[in-house]
């Protein structure tokens, strides 16, 4: 188990380093002289002159060679000093920590909806494999998977906000605003995972050990509960790790569509404004969420499947 954690920690460190490096390149690529830009941010564009920018340059060491500045940039990262936003001037870490909370709120709600949708649909399709429900759920899932996340969100907005006027279009002000973004994310996640659940459950039901437990006299429900659930759960949970990548991409889209004040929306905005410290922090936050979720998946697989434990 410790090796799992260590592996993911190493991955997180590598991820932070690569984003930091990319952001540093980004910073160098911004148009204009960096010292002038920072001086303008401090004193206002009307009050910048050569002396002020030279003072800034000397103070921040902007005349050092590029590799020294790169090391300084990384050293700041190690101290968790993410810098100030180029747009608002506030410390980035503070802003992003706000955004992360909103993103997690949306993600948890969406995940709960997705489980509520995918589990019954997947299991019912598996119990009647090849039946009309199975085929309908296949078509529905193929239909949902063939569109970008934001089109599903748009369709929900058109239907529930503009026509039925049940939910607000976008924004953030209470639980009513959570419904549409969470449901659109959940639909996308459930479209894939309901099929995965269906396949692994069918695999278990058709297996020899399941037949044997039926033959020895257990009812279908008993054998599924005793022998089926754990075996069927493993591929589903393992697949979650892959699915979370899609879910985070979905979060970026859905947050932008619904103006949800989360990290994804923040990242899209920062990219639009070329606000490098903000880009760096938001991308790192999403990366850390992603690696953290994968760690949870690893641990869940470890707990579900005892076979992995004996061979270290």
């Amino acid at each position: 188990m410790m090796t799992l954690v260590a592996k993911r920690l190493l991955q997180a460190a590598l991820m932070i380093w690569s984003i930091g490096t990319l952001s540093y390149v980004l910073m160098r690529l911004l148009p204009g002289d960096m010292a002038f830009r920072i001086a303008a941010g401090r004193y206002g564009y009307d009050n910048v002159n050569l002396a002020a920018s030279e003072a800034v340059r000397a103070e921040l060491g902007l005349d050092r060679p590029a590799w020294q500045q790169y090391l300084a940039w990384l050293a700041d990262l190690v101290r968790f000093d993410l810098g100030d936003s180029l747009v608002s001037g506030l410390p980035v870490a503070h802003e992003v920590s706000h955004l992360v909370l909103h993103t997690l709120q949306l993600a948890v709600a969406a995940f709960a909806c997705a489980v509520l949708l995918a589990l019954p649909v997947g299991l019912f399709a598996a119990f009647r494999a090849g039946g009309w429900f199975d085929r309908c759920s296949l078509v529905a899932s193929a239909f949902l998977r063939a569109q970008p996340v934001f089109v599903i969100g748009l369709a929900l907005v058109l239907l529930f906000s503009l026509h039925l006027k049940l939910f607000p279009v976008a924004g953030f002000n209470g639980s009513k605003y959570l419904v549409l973004p969470a449901v659109s994310l959940a639909l996308v996640m459930a479209a894939v995972s309901s099929r995965v659940i269906r396949h692994s459950a069918v695999g278990v039901i058709r297996s020899a050990f399941f037949d044997f437990s039926r033959v020895k006299g257990l009812s279908f429900a008993q054998s599924f509960w005793r022998h089926g659930v754990r075996n069927a759960a493993l591929p589903v949970v393992a697949f979650l790790g892959i699915q979370f990548a899609g879910a985070i991409e979905g979060i970026v889209m859905i947050e932008s569509l619904f103006s949800w004040p989360g990290v994804g929306h923040g990242l899209a905005h920062a990219v639009f404004n070329r606000d490098v410290p903000m880009i760096q922090a938001a991308a790192m936050a999403l990366g850390l969420i992603f690696v953290g979720l994968n760690l949870l998946v690893d641990i869940a697989c470890y707990l579900i499947d005892p076979r992995e434990r004996t061979e270290p």
Partner: protein, 265 residues
Amino acid sequence: MTRRLLGLRRGQLAGLVLIAALVCFALLEGLLHGADPASQDLANPFAGPSLSEPLGTDQYGRSMLARLAAAVRLSLALSLLCVVTSATIGVAMGVVAGWRQGLLDKCMSLLLNIALALPGLVLVLLFASLAPGSFLMLYVGISAVLWVEYFRVVRAITRRVAASPQVQASRMLGFGALYCVRRHLWPAIVGPVLTLAAFGASASILALAALGFIAVGLRPPTAELGLMMVELFPYYNEAPWVLAQPILAVFLLVLGLNLLAGGEE
């Protein structure tokens, strides 16, 4: 499911037909219709379908037929470029890493771990912010995301094949590595790689549309499917059929590629 044509299942065949139809539509429009997708006709916004404008016009009176075909061409070209690049890099690295394990394999796996630590779209966004509105950066970013899958799959297959008795026999008979790769490895790789290629193409089409949709991809007046959706959304009440066109185009493209990839698995 038993009848096969070109070795494809029924669903895959449907996908192939769908994609072929879209390619024909995009190319024939360029050849026969040939209107400028950016030329405006402000006196004629949201014209209904007519003989000269079979798909109507958008908010600036631009021909939707020309814009849609240009956007589909752009999406297809980008996905083709990305898939070819990422498949070449991914397969080459996968074969090398799987065949000659050891230090090289370790280094490449480290690279893989970095790439896997970030959701794809976030990486594309980072690249897109390097040079906003540039097609080249989107291409590099999307390819940088897609190669991972090829590498993982090909490396796993190569490791299995390289350890197989058939390859050992070939090696002992004195055949070189190149022969073994061509004779034993290539046939095992080709199927999975083609499946991945179809999924990769649909992923890159979705990514392009997604970036356009959140306004960090290509810039107007480029005809791009995601951009067209954002631009037309405010006019939903006046012209829902115009908004439906880019949405339908993305849907058909992605559905066709997903079907071609083999639907279920």
